[in-house]
């Protein structure tokens, strides 16, 4: 066998870059979160403050509201993407003319920069220019103005996210569906299972790992969405779409409250991990418990 040291040498540059630009910032943020540090404050030096930043967080209604809104946004967006993505992936499993062409079109939104996605949807929804407010008013007499109505702004961000990210879910599930074994389906047919039963007892369990990984990736991304929403609504109206990423950004940069921003970042990261873990435990472990029967 060739010497291990050569192998480590090949890995070294990758590990070095990830350590310096990935791990080091993480340690830094962890340390800063225990300090009181605001460069605009009367005393701009770092002062150790223990868990004070974390204590403040619990009573910061602005932050808690933004967490709640982010969670709502994530749940609505990801659930719609999974359903829609599954539906499209199943349809892409069939053969039809121009399949490659249609697949390219349905992958396109995925390749667009989030900032450009935000810009596109702003052009669609801006009053006096966009077709959405114009036709909703003309055909249905519906007053659509996302700079005023919080609910509309919220649902527009969800729709934009679904438009942008459903292709990722479709591709993930499509890859999983194409690599699925045929036998269980044939067996189900022999046993006389109807379509719903086949879906529930055969397709879904086989597809579960792919669905789970799609949910995780999308949920993590939704919890950290900034660019698109910033371009579309700027976090408004009031704070209705000021999702947690935007909220942290405002505390850290315009207000330069570094210690507090660090604590918020860590809590958000922690909550994202907990959320994914709960989902994992709820969806995977429960089924495993049932197995022994």
């Amino acid at each position: 066998m060739r010497p291990q040291s050569v192998g480590w040498l090949f890995l070294a540059p990758t590990l070095l870059i990830l350590a310096v630009f990935g791990v080091l910032p993480f340690i830094y943020v962890l340390v800063v979160s225990f300090f009181d540090w605001n460069s605009f404050a009367a005393d701009p030096t770092m002062r150790f403050s223990g868990v004070q930043n974390y204590r403040d967080l619990v009573f910061d209604t602005g932050f808690l509201m933004s967490l709640w809104n982010t969670l709502k946004f994530g749940v609505f967006a990801v659930a719609s993407e999974i359903v829609l993505g599954y539906f499209l992936a199943q349809l892409f499993m069939r053969n039809f003319p121009l399949k490659g062409f249609f697949r390219t079109i349905h992958t396109l939104p995925l390749m667009i920069a989030p900032v450009a996605v935000g810009a596109t949807w702003r052009l669609m929804t801006v009053p006096g220019l966009g077709p959405i407010p114009y036709y909703l008013d003309r055909w249905f007499g519906y007053d659509y103005l996302i700079s005023r109505y919080a609910g509309q702004a919220f649902f527009t961000t969800v729709v934009m996210d679904v438009w942008h990210w459903t292709p990722l879910v479709t591709l993930t599930l499509l890859a999983a569906l194409s690599s699925m074994p045929k036998e269980p389906f044939e067996q189900a047919q022999i046993d006389g299972a109807n379509k719903l039963q086949t879906f529930w007892y055969v397709t879904l369990p086989l597809l579960k790992p792919a669905i789970l990984s799609a949910v995780f990736i999308r949920l993590m991304d939704a919890m950290r969405t900034v660019d698109e929403v910033w371009m579309l609504t700027g976090g408004g109206p009031a704070a209705a779409t000021r999702y947690v990423g935007l909220y942290i950004w405002r505390v850290v940069f315009p207000k330069t409250d570094y210690g507090y921003g660090s604590a918020m970042s860590l809590i958000t990261l922690y909550l994202t991990i907990v959320l994914c873990w709960l989902l994992y435990a709820g969806l995977v472990a429960r089924r495993d418990l049932r197995k022994p029967e």
């Binding site: 090949f10 490659g100 390219t104 920069a113 450009a116 970042s265 958000t268």
Partner: protein, 278 residues
């Protein structure tokens, strides 16, 4: 009967494509119209192509700088990431390294953390710690190139692992028996066989780097600004020049469209390898 279903499926796909493409088409419409034409009812027809919007962006010197920066940063990052990921996956696939599966998994965790958590420490590191004399890593292209490795390298490694694993080990063993060095094996055995996978990886990492906004906006001020930050400035600073904003947005998505049509066939495997494996 069968013909009916075919017609139905075609209708469905056309309709669904229409919905998918509509926002992009509308942006194109806005980009092709003058300010005067944009008043009044939205129309989806382009009577005359108003190229002024595009020229205004393309001839703006600060925008030329942004575009140049974006091209340099995305290209260097894609080259660096594909090279390093080839080395890393070669090591992970061919050497018996202790704990290598843990390392493999650890790399992907770098992609999971919310960027908001990293903005502040990176900003501080770039302005106060990564400083050599008068030189700061803040507002430099190299700063962004190296930083984008944090989310592109894990992706590339997870994609390339399968590609390199699939190359039969007998091939490099045979080359070693013939007296080839490790470098020669990588260059003449692995590289040619991994080329399709490398191409998809390079293109996707290029697009990810080109599309990135948050870090570019936070860690640059003048010299290293990228095209996405330029686009965002349109909304926050100038506000209402919709035509030119749309033209700029169209310019940012042209490379993505070209690349997508190039790798369309391989993208399913490329984008989802990690998911299928996990």
């Amino acid at each position: 009967m069968k013909r009916d279903r075919k017609g139905l499926s075609l209708t469905f796909w056309l309709f669904s494509s229409l919905i998918t493409l509509f926002p992009i088409y509308w942006m194109f419409c806005v980009s092709a119209k003058s300010r005067v034409e944009l008043f009044g009812a939205p129309t989806f027809l382009i009577r005359s192509f108003f190229s002024e919007n595009y020229w205004a962006t393309l001839t703006n010197t600060s925008f030329q700088g942004y575009m140049f920066n974006s091209i340099v940063i995305a290209t260097s990052n894609a080259l660096l990431v594909t090279t390093l990921s080839l080395f890393a996956t070669y090591a992970l696939s061919r050497y018996k390294l202790s704990g290598k599966e843990n390392i493999f998994f650890w790399t992907i965790t770098n992609r999971m953390a919310p960027p908001a958590a990293f903005l502040l420490p990176l900003f501080l590191l770039y302005t106060q710690v990564f400083v050599i004399g008068d030189w700061k890593m803040f507002d430099t292209r190299i700063g962004l190139i190296l930083l984008y490795c944090v989310f592109n390298l894990p992706f590339a490694i997870w994609t390339m692992r399968g590609v390199v694993d699939a190359i039969p080990q007998e091939l490099d063993e045979a080359a070693f028996v013939d007296g080839a060095s490790t470098w020669q094996v990588i260059l003449h055995v692995i590289l040619p066989l991994a080329r399709p996978g490398l191409a998809v990886t390079a293109i996707l990492t290029w697009v990810f780097a080109w599309n990135e906004y948050l870090f570019a906006a936070t860690l640059t001020s003048v010299h290293a600004r990228t095209i996405t930050t330029g686009l965002a400035e349109f909304v926050t600073v100038t506000g209402t020049n919709w035509g030119q904003m749309a033209a700029t947005a169209m310019l940012t998505l042209i490379p993505a469209i070209i690349f997508l049509s190039l790798v369309q066939k391989h993208i399913v495997a490329g984008l989802t390898f990690g998911a299928v494996k996990g």
